[in-house]
Symmetry: C2
Subunit: 427 residues, 2 copies
């Protein structure tokens, strides 16, 4: 094979875009030898005010998307702008102009994956998005290719670096949510408006993408039941610790005869679970299936390293162009599985209650749980509680979510229960 | 695309072979939908005495390799016999008959990779071996494809389940090497002749394969400096623990301006390193490079789950057959890098010395290290030592291996040093 020149158009030159530019240059020799292709950035779409800075570095900046669309030499459009608008529109236009697309955009893929894949298939182009989940971690390609032989039943991810950093800090230093959020913001790990991260929406988009691939059935953001970390307290983290758990924000996808169950929420995770030692801004995705059993993919979930995933997608398409095989393996959602209602999902639960400190209280609480069909694995009394009160920590056996809701209602109506301070699933 | 029938010939029906048969059947529906191909086992080569058992299960057993070689319908030969002979010969013959080959055979790949790739290229067939390293863990394909954009500088692996199980047990229970070996043998985790595992040879073959791919330069078993776990004592593990380390048998590959450095030996690994919590028979491979930074791949390193890797290779080739693109991306060792001599490699070292318990000894030891160009990071005295003796635990700063050898010689000649009990690298 003679060495082929593959020309690409880049949309956006922020953190990831800048890193793609940098490493396509720095690692040019190894990439060229490994792929037998030279990858050249022909145009970079940026805002008018960003053009001078790029031109100073001799980079081919433009503020006209049409220049990229109408350039027949550009075979791959790499969308790194983020957000829905105008990214989605730009991706569709690129495909309709016969161009392959690489994106790092979880929002667009999680919400409009079906439409985007349809457009890619119609135009016989590739649509790759390795960087949209887990940043630099190879996970989309391993799921689609290396694990093809497996029936995957479960996928668990720590896929949001901001919240994982915050929970790690809260665990290490015993500080509260507000304090750690401020620190994360000052370090640039959390945005000024942290809602998408701390409320679990970012993780929800990512698990929608992963679950769609793992279970071969379309899961969108709307199908994910979401709860963030805003209610997690140092007290819960410390109790969890004593019980042998760490608190993590997990993105969870399960596929069983009950249907697909996709959720994002804080969990108490056993300390010896492989995900339990994934700390700070790092991400990891844990997969369960047969025959593989259990596997985990671990690495940096954001920032400059993400260029590794973006460039690997570009190279995949470059190989497809060389082999004349682009657009041949598209969407893998060939099934239309039902979803499992949240009330039917099964977990153990951790619950912290503020109760009156008087004889007989524990018995009444245990009876209330029992009446709701919830059997208890452990009950312990915490040392710290306001005067005349006691704090009770309960861990249940596995029960349906609806039984927990029933127990919760009944507990609220007990005169000896002052407040249900927290309910967290145990995974 | 119409659904294509891809027929394969299986060599061997042991643990992995049996599992491949089982899961090609059990997961037939998902595999067929995901790949748009039906994979059919046309012939299984076994020993004459094994034939009746397979025929009872209606499996197409044969004891004649020629039947497979001369069957034009068989496009893929899957070698799962293990060992060099006759596996290597069978693989070469298959390729020379125009058949693609999948193997799980680390011995053959590590020792004869160059020749096998040459034969594959000559015959324009694919040669895949995902299962040869890390069992079920996807690592060969991620290295060759997902990480193509990276300059990889370091690859560290826990790639031998037997020794990792033994070290995990020694750490948890404080038992000695002989005791844990017997237990591992009784559980089937160690073979009756455990040499290949406990002496590090199995891990050496695997790191030779990984380093060849990561550094794009051929590394064979002979290039690997190897030391096993036979000299590791519960004392060393317990001292390591106090110093904040765990003891692991690591397979190490590094690529720097000094050359390629490939070794297998026990190390003291910092407890917060991602590999430190990989316990029991599990495997993991840790990769360092730019832009990815650090990534880790974790999962079962042997047994039935390995079928996941074997079948994924079969499917890769099936896709290649569908796209008429087999044999297009072969050997990636396009460089011929020099090796770094072991004496020039750099590490910190942990050393345990039995010395006379009298004043001035510590000073003389420290001076001896200093004279050999070795500076010390910490020195501590152990509590347990025979009468009139003391046990000294030393951790050095980073030094060249030749300086440690020089220090070791000088220490042996000191009258106050009775014995150098152990030397272990700190990674």
């Amino acid at each position: 094979m003679s060495k082929q020149k593959i020309k690409i158009g880049l949309l956006g030159a922020g953190t990831i875009g800048g890193s793609v530019i940098k490493f396509l240059h720095e690692n040019q020799a190894v990439i060229s030898q490994r792929t037998n292709a030279d990858i050249e950035i022909k145009k970079i779409l940026v805002l008018p005010r960003e053009i001078p800075a790029l031109q100073e570095k001799n980079l081919p900046a433009t503020d006209s998307y049409d220049e990229i669309l109408n350039d027949p030499e550009i075979k791959i459009v790499v969308e790194l702008m983020g957000g829905i608008n105008p990214a989605k529109d730009f991706i569709l236009k690129a495909m309709n102009h016969g161009k392959n697309v690489v994106t790092a955009n979880k929002d667009v893929v999680a919400q409009f994956g079906g439409e985007l894949f349809e457009t890619a298939e119609k135009n016989q182009v590739d649509f790759l998005f390795e960087a949209s989940v887990g940043g630099a971690i190879p996970i989309i390609m391993p799921l689609k290719r290396s694990l093809t032989a497996n029936k995957i039943t479960e996928i668990l991810g720590i896929v949001n670096g901001t919240t994982n950093y915050m929970l790690t800090k809260m665990t290490a230093d015993g500080v509260d949510y507000e304090t750690v959020l401020k620190e994360a913001q000052s370090k640039g790990y959390a945005e000024r408006n942290p809602a998408a991260d701390v409320e679990g929406k970012d993780a929800a988009r990512k698990i929608a993408i992963l679950a769609s691939i793992a279970f071969n059935s379309r899961v969108t953001f709307e199908n994910v039941s979401v709860e963030g970390i805003t209610k997690i307290t140092p007290q819960d983290i410390s109790h969890a610790e004593k019980l042998g758990y760490v608190v993590k924000l997990l993105a969870i996808g399960k596929d069983s005869e009950l249907g697909i169950d996709v959720r994002v929420h804080p969990v108490l995770l056993e300390k010896n679970h492989p995900l339990a030692s994934v700390n700070g801004v790092l991400n990891a995705i844990f997969v369960k299936g047969a025959p593989i059993g259990e596997a985990m993919f671990y690495g940096p979930g954001a920032g400059e390293p993400t260029a590794s995933a973006v460039i690997s997608d570009i190279i995949e398409i470059a190989r497809g162009i060389q082999l004349n095989s682009v657009g041949r393996f598209g969407c893998t959602c060939y099934e239309n599985k039902k979803f499992c209602p949240v009330e039917e999902t099964v977990s153990s639960y951790y619950m912290r209650l503020l109760v009156d400190d008087k004889p007989g209280v524990l018995g009444r609480i245990a009876t209330t749980f029992g009446d709701a069909g919830v059997s208890l694995k452990s009950v312990m009394q915490s040392e710290c509680a306001p005067e005349d009160h006691a704090e009770i920590i309960v861990v249940t056996h596995e029960v349906k979510h609806k039984n927990i809701l029933q127990a919760q209602d009944a507990l609220k109506n007990l005169d000896v229960v002052d407040e249900i301070l927290s309910i967290i699933r145990v995974e």
